[in-house]
Every structure is written in structure tokens, then in C-alpha cells.
């Protein structure tokens, strides 16, 4: 049986599991089945990476069209990301799902979401693609609404539904444009690719459609609302995997179906990518709700991925396949890395939520003593997502910087000016991410507990820990052996940009090199080994020379002992300098300090406000305009009969004039 057939059967089984979720309330059965199926599908997808493209037509779907499915290298890579993330989330849910208050609202939609995402990746005609896209959107909407009784959740669900509907509409129009040349099947679109302004319009529609699902600024507003209110394992899926499916949709349409790119296509992608990275991380730095913080961090990473895609488009338009392959490899690698790290982070956040019932990090602290294993996994994933060596996040970021480094060869002036600017934004974002995760980990797990729930928290269950440890190990493996991942991505770049990075497996000591002949190189294995050896060696040497005498005492704190936990820095105070320097411009953050004069008994207060420019500049006016128009139209409901008759008569006259004018 071919790999494609295995994946297709897997989708059918997932749908059957979804149906089973309607019958049984036992999470263990459903999640166990999902784990088995998605793990098998992940293995199949990994093996299919190196295989030639395979396609099949099933006699379902639109009459006369059928359902086209295709598995090429790009689909295989994203099927690997989808099913890898899904398997980890299912394993996590075996433990965490048991804490779900109403499993009946989660189980059927969970399996349906997995089936929908897999079908998007395999779809080879516009009808199946959009159908699967909608299944994915609606299933995740239902999951967001699974705890619908809180007003906040209902609002999140509403915003999510509106944004999902908007995105699908944009994709629908985009596919209509693409299908104008031949038909709905992707093969026909590839053969009759667009050119000129229709292609540019198609790019814009795809940016809107896929970008709204991926969380690009300014269409990101649903992500930080929806992620926190979904059950933890679903939040991990939505942040780590659903956004990657959106990235897949963008790559599939723009790199594969839309035809040879023009150089200016890269401009909007680069600008939006850079903006998304910077705005996402600044929001994350200001956030005190752990799940929302992680959601904003997802937005930032999506920005980085789109930045690399923009670079790849520019290189491809200028017939530089080696550089295009470098940029595209960086983006695809980063997509996988982000899935790994962000899933662990959401699992850790879910474990904290389960143990304390608290999402506000200001009321936690000191959890490293109570939750040693999950905190270690969270720390590892933080290092990975902060792009620090020797883990995987740095490997993909290094490739991104190398791609920027070769971009002065681009001939267009627009790009010559824009690429250094986006490079600066990327460098800023990279530094701010590290600050963001020092803050998240430091306030959440380190320090002294700020509440009794934090003091009495307990470590989470074994299934959750297994999922976190498994993905954490993959973070380390991809960081030490980035060459393996790069080589695995070679068929994908060959397919999309007609070039590939040099074969890394053969280079001496498994060093990775960005382009043939480049002297810049990085060796994750060597750096990792060196770091480990020096750390352990130094610790052992120092202990041998100086002994291990250690005395536990009260904190010194410059001679102020016995100060309570409330004197610690909080998350808000930790990021206050960064807020003052960066956010006062971008997010228009402001502080109002109310210090009563001596003698008054009023309490002093500090109030800080943060504005989301996207929400205020785009959505609030849009909503206001909508309700204004609706209010204006509303008056036509309460007119007298004479006025209605007058309007009917006037309309009739106008129609007669038009009919008369048309020959």
C-alpha cells in the first residue's frame, strides 16, 4: 500500500474516531486511538519525504471532479509536522483530558480537527482543500467553545468564527481566480498559472486567507483570544499545528500554483512578516496570562517563517535557486522547530493550569520546587524557542541569518533597502524573545511562591510528562543534528524552488554549511558537546578542588532579610524598562501613577494601559462602521406605508430608465 493510501486511510479512521467520540465519553479510548493513528501517519509521512510524488482520485466530492489527493515532499513534511504534533497532543491528552469537565464537547471535534488538518495537507483540488479547511476551522471553533459558559470564551469563539469565515472567503476568491484558467484540480491550476495583476491579486487574497489563519499582523487578533480558552492539548494543537497548516496553504498556493513569482511579491510578505515578528514578541513581553503570552509568541514565530518565505520568493524571482533553497529550508525547519517547542510550552502551561487553576503568572512563582520535571521541560523548550545554541531553534535562526547574508546579491532597490530593515527587526525579535522567556520562566517557576495555590501545587501526570519529554528530546536531537533535517528538506526545496542546500550529511564532523563554497559554518553537535563537557568538567573540577561545602541560609538581598514574597519583582515590573523603551511607540503603552499626598489615606495606584494597534486601527473602526450602517438601515424597518409605496415607485422608475437606456 502506498504512503498516500496509508494517510488517506488514516483520515478515514480519524473520522470514524470522531464519530466514536459522539458515542463514548471515555477520553482514554479516543485519545489512545488518535495517538496510535497519528503516530503511524507521522512515521508514514517521514518515510514519504524522500519518495516521488503520488496522487489518487477518489470518486467522492464534486460530481465530475472527484476528490484529488496528492502526496509530494511538501505535503509529506507538513503531514509530519501535523501528525507529530497531533500524536504528542494525544499522548498529553491521555492524562490532561481526564481533567476535562465536559469531555463530550471535546472528543468528537478533536478527532475531526486532526482529520481536517490532514486532509488540507493532502488535498489536490480546490474543492477538497476548502472543504477540509472549513472542517478544520469549524472543529477548532467547536473546541474553543467547549467551555462556552464564560462570557470571555463566547467572545473568543465569536471573534474566531468571524475571522475564520473571512479567511475562507478570501481563499475562496483566490481559488476562483486560480481556477479561471482551467479547473478546480491543482494540476490544471499549475498548468494555467496566472501572470500580471491577477497573480498579484491572488497573492493578496492568499495572504489574507492563509495569513488570517496563521496569525499574521493585523489579522492576528483571534489567536490570543482563542488559544487560552481552549483545553490545553487543543491550545497546543491550535498554536503549534493549525498555524502551520495555514503556512502550508500559503506555500502550496504561492510557490506551487500561482506560477513563477515576480520580485515584488516578496515585498508585502517581508514587510508583514517583519511587522508580525516585532509586534508579536512585544505583546508577549507585556502579557501576564501565560497562555496568551504563548499565543503571542506563536504570532512572532509565524512572522519569522513568513519573513523567510518572502526571502525565498525574492531569490526565486531572481533565479537564485541555491539562496532560495536556503531561505525556504530555514522557514520549513523553523516551522517544525516551533511546533516542537511551542507544544512543550503549552503542555507545561496546561500542567500549571491543572495544578494551580491559575493562568496569571503574577500569582504564581517557585513552581520549580513543586513541579521539577515539567519545569525542566519548559526550560528546555524556552531555550529552544529563544533560539539559543545548541538547540534546534538556533539552527533554523542561523539559516535565516545566512539567507539575509546572501541577499545583497538581489538586484532590485526595493529589496536592497527592505531586507536590512527586516534583518534588524529579526535581530530585535530574537533578543526580545529571550527576554520574554526569561520573564515567563523566571516569574512562573523561579523565585518564591506568590500565592497558596503555587505553594501547594503538585507535579502533573505521567502521560503529560511523557509527551513533554518526548518532544524535548526531539528539540535536542534536531539541535545537535540539524544537517539531518536539512537533508530531509532537500526534496521539498527541489520541488518548490528548483534548488537545494548542499548535502550536509557528507560534510566533515556534520557541520552545516549554508551554500556551496560558503566559509560560514555551524556545528550543533560540536558546540553542544563542548558546552556539556565544559559545564560538567568545570563543575567536577571545582568540586574536586574546592569541595562541595554548601550552607543554606536566608537570602542576603543586600542586608534586607525576611522580606516577604511580595517584594519580588513581578512580571509587569520585570518588563517595565522594555515597555518604556519599545512599547510606548509600538503599542502606545502608558502608565498613570496616582500617588496621594502625605496625610491622605487613599491607596496609591499604578495603572498601565496597552493598546493593540491592529485592533484599534482596523477592527474597531470596521465594527463601528458595520454597526453604523446597520443602525442606519434599521430605520427602513419602521417607515409608514406611504413611504414604502413611494420607494417602490421610485425604484420602478429607476429600473425602467435603466431598461430603456440599455439597447
Amino acid at each position: 500500500m502506498s504512503a498516500l493510501a496509508v494517510l488517506a486511510v488514516g483520515i478515514v479512521v480519524l473520522l470514524a474516531i470522531a464519530a466514536g467520540g459522539l458515542v463514548t465519553r471515555r477520553g482514554a479510548v479516543i485519545y489512545g486511538a488518535c495517538l496510535a493513528v497519528t503516530a503511524a501517519m507521522a512515521v508514514t509521512a517521514a518515510m514519504a519525504l524522500a519518495l516521488p510524488a503520488a496522487s489518487m482520485v477518489l470518486p467522492i466530492g464534486l460530481p465530475g471532479l472527484g476528490a484529488h489527493l496528492r502526496l509530494d515532499a511538501l505535503a509529506a513534511w507538513f503531514a509530519l509536522i501535523v501528525n507529530g504534533g497531533a500524536a504528542a497532543a494525544s499522548l498529553y491528552a491521555l492524562g490532561a483530558g481526564a481533567r476535562e469537565p465536559e469531555p463530550g464537547r471535546v472528543l468528537p471535534f478533536y478527532a475531526a480537527l486532526l482529520a481536517g488538518m490532514n486532509l488540507v495537507v493532502l488535498a489536490d483540488d480546490a474543492y477538497i482543500f476548502l472543504f477540509a479547511w472549513e472542517v478544520m476551522s469549524l472543529a477548532s471553533w467547536a473546541l474553543v467553545m467547549s467551555r462556552h459558559r464564560a462570557a470571555e470564551n463566547a467572545r473568543a469563539g465569536y471573534v474566531y468564527l468571524v475571522m475564520a469565515g473571512f479567511g475562507t472567503l478570501a481563499l475562496l476568491l483566490g481559488f476562483a481566480l486560480l481556477a479561471s484558467g482551467g479547473g478546480l484540480a491543482f494540476d490544471a491550476m499549475r498548468a494555467a498559472h496566472l501572470a500580471g495583476w491577477p497573480a498579484g491579486l491572488g497573492l493578496g487574497l492568499v495572504l489574507l486567507g492563509a495569513g488570517s489563519k496563521a496569525g499574521l499582523v493585523p489579522l492576528h487578533v483571534w489567536l490570543p483570544l482563542a488559544d487560552p480558552v481552549a483545553p490545553p492539548h487543543v491550545a497546543a494543537l491550535m498554536s503549534g499545528v493549525v498555524t502551520k497548516v495555514a503556512v502550508y496553504g500559503f506555500i502550496r498556493i504561492v510557490f506551487d500554483l500561482l506560477g513563477p513569482p515576480e520580485w515584488w511579491w516578496s515585498l508585502p510578505v517581508l514587510i508583514i512578516g517583519g511587522m508580525t515578528a516585532a509586534v508579536g514578541v512585544l505583546h508577549a513581553l507585556m502579557e501576564r496570562d501565560l497562555q496568551r503570552l504563548l499565543a503571542y509568541s506563536t504570532i512572532e514565530n509565524i512572522g519569522i517563517i513568513f519573513l523567510t518565505l518572502g526571502l525565498a520568493l525574492a531569490f526565486r524571482a531572481n533565479a537564485m535557486p541555491a539562496a532560495a533553497a536556503l531561505a525556504l529550508t530555514a522557514g520549513l525547519f523553523h516551522a517544525g522547530n516551533h511546533m516542537l517547542a511551542k507544544s512543550v510550552l503549552f503542555f507545561g502551561a496546561g500542567a500549571v493550569l491543572g495544578a494551580t487553576g491559575e493562568r496569571n503568572i503574577e500569582r504564581l512563582g517557585g513552581l520549580i520546587h513543586r513541579m521539577p520535571v515539567s519545569s525542566a521541560c519548559f526550560l528546555l523548550a524556552s531555550v529552544a524557542i529563544a533560539a539559543l545554541p545548541p538547540l534546534n531553534g538556533f539552527a533554523s535562526e542561523w539559516l535565516t541569518f545566512q539567507a539575509i547574508f546572501v541577499s545583497p546579491a538581489l538586484p532590485q532597490w526595493g529589496l536592497k533597502l527592505l531586507v536590512p530593515a527586516t534583518g534588524t527587526l529579526l535581530a530585535l525579535a530574537a533578543a526580545l524573545v529571550a527576554a520574554c522567556f526569561v520573564r515567563a520562566f523566571g516569574i512562573l517557576y523561579l523565585g518564591r511562591p506568590r500565592s497558596t495555590v503555587a505553594e501547594t501545587a503538585a507535579e502533573t501526570d505521567r502521560f503529560s510528562l511523557a509527551a513533554m519529554i518526548g518532544l524535548g528530546a526531539l528539540c535536542i536531537a534536531c539541535g545537535l543534528f540539524p544537517g539531518v533535517v536539512i537533508d530531509a528538506l532537500a526534496p521539498v526545496t527541489q520541488l518548490l524552488v528548483g534548488g537545494a542546500m548542499p548535502v550536509q550529511w557528507q560534510s566533515a564532523w556534520l557541520t552545516i554549511i549554508p551554500t556551496a563554497g560558503a566559509t560560514g559554518s555551524y556545528n550543533g553537535l560540536m558546540i553542544g558537546l563542548f558546552l556539556a563537557l565544559v559545564t560538567i568538567g568545570t563543575a567536577l573540577t571545582i568540586h574536586a578542588v574546592a569541595g562541595r561545602r554548601t550552607r543554606r541560609a536566608r537570602p542576603w538581598d543586600c542586608g534586607y532579610p525576611n522580606l516577604g514574597p511580595a517584594t519580588q519583582y513581578t512580571a509587569a515590573s520585570l518588563s517595565q524598562p522594555i515597555r518604556r523603551v519599545f512599547s510606548s511607540i509600538v503599542l502606545r503603552s502608558s502608565e498613570v501613577v496616582d500617588m496621594p499626598p502625605p496625610g491622605t489615606l487613599r491607596a496609591a495606584s499604578v495603572r498601565k494601559t496597552i493598546h493593540d494597534p491592529a485592533w484599534e486601527a482596523l477592527f474597531a473602526p470596521l465594527a463601528a462602521a458595520m454597526s453604523g450602517v446597520a443602525g442606519w438601515l434599521n430605520q427602513f424597518q419602521y417607515l409608514t406605508i406611504r413611504r414604502y409605496l413611494l420607494m417602490v415607485f421610485g425604484l420602478l422608475v429607476i429600473l425602467l430608465i435603466i431598461v430603456g437606456m440599455v439597447p
Binding site: 535581530a427 526580545l432 523565585g447 563542548f530 522594555i578
Partner: protein, 316 residues
């Protein structure tokens, strides 16, 4: 191969052994210029030995992060320093990381250090961490832009290759390199907690940045933190020397004479840089914390300008 490993080992030992000396030299020089006698030149070594002999006091609320951090900080800094050419280029492990990797290794050290600052849960640890994160948020991107600038001039991000290109005299004087030099000096001052950004000699409570972060450390842990700080200072001096005054650097597979010359040149460069640092520090005042972002913003802007110039024309 064996010879290569020996040369690499010499480099690693060199940076480790010379680092406290450079710190002591700068201290002694500053004291002299202030008409004080100052501590002996070898005082940092004595401090190290004395701290090792003491017991380590660890706060009740500290976790394993606090105890592991000094070793991680030291390891990341030392590995980074081992990748910067000091007396010879093209050492056997020099290809395992380029300038971007060196920046990221220092980022790893900072990650561990700032977490340790938060671990005990005191207000001073928090204040130091908070400010360090702000400075890093500007200094690190500035460093990346400097990397781009020098790498675009030399056509490589690998330090050995950059130094080799700079040695060929075809580079000449360039605007972009001048911008990168100023930016790198600013970043080096900020990263090493020197005046005007931070004062390495102060324990004046409200002005501390680096010292506030490591306030809870004692004994062997403090010894490692101090040693790592010295190595970091040496690393930045070596980086400046390797990028902008690569004279005397021994090429790969050179003879023993070239290596001796490289060592001598390196000593001269260290002394010169240390003297300049000392003179600079006594002749300038520390600035307020919220003026530092402007100072570092200059570095970021200069780095960006340098890169932009090179995107526009490879000859600028």
C-alpha cells in the same frame, strides 16, 4: 591533527589564564590614574583562590537553576571565547561556530545568568535582571548588525575568514567598517557592564545592574561568575582586535615563529585595549539607566547603517 588540537588547547588555556590578568590590569591602571595605589595586578587570581576556599552559601528559596547557572555561564562564555581568533586563525575547531554562533553563545550565558538573578526571589535580583534584559534587547541586535556589516565586507561570517580578509589590505578604509567599529565598542562596553553603562566596582544599591544579578552568589559560585565576566571582557577585546587590528595573527599551518609573533602581538593588543578602557572609564561618568537605551540605540543604528550601506554598494 594532534598539532591542531594542541594549538586549539593553547588558545583555550590562553583566554582562561589571561582573562583575570586583563581585569587586574584595568583595575590597577584606573587606580593609578585616580592617584590610588590600587590592588596588586594579580589580585583577581588571589580572589579566585580565596573564593574557592570559602563555603558556598545558597539561599533557602534557590533551586538547581541557581547552582547550575555559574557553570553554564562560564562554559558558554569560554566556548565562545575559544572560537575568537586570538593569536592564530583557522584553529582546528574554529569552523564549529561563526560570529552569529558566538553572539548566541553569549546570549545563552545571559539567559542562564538572568534566570539565576530571578531564582532566589529577591528585589535586587529582579532589578538587575530587568535592566540586563533591557540592555540585551538592544545590544544583541546591534551585535547581529555588526556581524552583518563585517561579514558582508569579508564575504563570510566565519571569524578566521574575516580576519584573513582584513589582513589582505584590499579592504582599505571603509565607512561601513568605521560605523561597525564604533558600534562594537559601544556593545562591548554595555555587555561587559563597564562605565558608562554599569559600574563594575560599585555596590551602590540603586545603580547596580550586573552586580545586582549576582548579589546572592558566594564562594565557588561567585568565583565562577567572576571568572566568566573576566573571560567575557577578554573575548570582546579579542574580537575587536581580530576584526579591526588583525596584524600579527598567525595564518593556518604556520611555523613556530609565526605563532610566537602572534602571541606577542596579542599581548600588545590586550595591553593597548586595556589601557584605552582604563583611560576611557576614568574620564567619563556613568549614565542614568534610562539613558542607556539611547546609547545602545546608537550602536544599533550604526550597525544598521553599516549593513544598509553594504547592501547598497559592496565597496562602501
Amino acid at each position: 591533527m594532534i598539532g591542531g588540537i594542541v594549538l586549539q588547547g593553547v588558545q583555550m588555556a590562553l583566554v582562561l589564564l589571561l582573562a583575570p590578568l586583563l581585569t587586574g590590569f584595568v583595575r590597577k591602571l584606573k587606580a593609578h590614574m585616580l592617584r590610588r595605589r590600587g590592588p596588586p595586578l594579580l589580585q583577581p587570581y588571589r580572589d579566585f583562590r580565596r573564593l574557592l576556599a570559602k563555603e558556598a552559601i545558597v539561599a533557602d528559596s534557590a533551586s538547581w537553576v541557581f547552582r547550575a547557572a555559574p557553570y553554564v555561564v562560564f562554559a558558554a562564555t569560554w566556548v565562545a571565547a575559544a572560537l575568537v581568533p586570538t593569536y592564530a586563525t583557522g584553529l582546528v575547531f574554529s569552523w564549529s561556530g561563526d560570529l552569529i554562533a558566538i553572539t548566541a553563545l553569549l546570549g545563552l550565558a545571559r539567559f542562564a545568568q538572568t534566570l539565576a538573578g530571578l531564582d532566589v526571589g529577591t528585589s535586587f535580583g529582579g532589578i538587575g535582571t530587568s535592566r540586563e534584559l533591557l540592555f540585551a534587547a538592544l545590544a544583541e541586535p546591534a551585535m547581529i548588525m555588526i556581524t552583518f556589516t563585517v561579514a558582508l565586507v569579508a564575504g563570510s561570517t566565519q571569524l578566521s575568514a574575516i580576519a584573513a580578509t582584513m589582513l589582505t589590505y584590499t579592504v582599505g578604509l571603509r565607512v561601513s567598517l568605521a560605523l561597525a567599529l564604533i558600534a562594537l565598542i559601544i556593545v562591548a562596553l554595555a555587555e561587559n557592564a563597564r562605565i558608562p553603562v554599569d559600574n563594575p566596582a560599585t555596590h551602590l544599591e540603586l545603580t547596580m545592574v550586573h552586580e545586582a544579578m549576582v548579589l546572592e552568589y558566594s564562594g565557588r559560585h561567585l568565583a565562577m561568575v567572576d571568572l566568566a565576566a573576566s573571560v567575557k571582557l577578554l573575548l570582546y577585546v579579542s574580537l575587536l582586535a581580530c576584526l579591526f587590528t588583525p596584524l600579527g595573527l598567525a595564518p593556518p599551518d604556520a611555523g613556530i615563529g609565526a605563532y610566537a609573533l602572534g602571541l606577542a602581538a596579542y599581548g600588545v593588543k590586550l595591553a593597548g585595549a586595556g589601557a584605552m578602557l582604563g583611560v576611557f572609564e576614568v574620564s567619563i561618568a556613568k549614565m542614568r539607566v534610562f539613558r542607556v537605551p539611547n546609547f545602545l540605540g546608537i550602536a544599533l543604528m550604526l550597525g544598521f547603517l553599516g549593513t544598509l550601506l553594504l547592501f547598497v554598494s559592496r565597496s562602501l
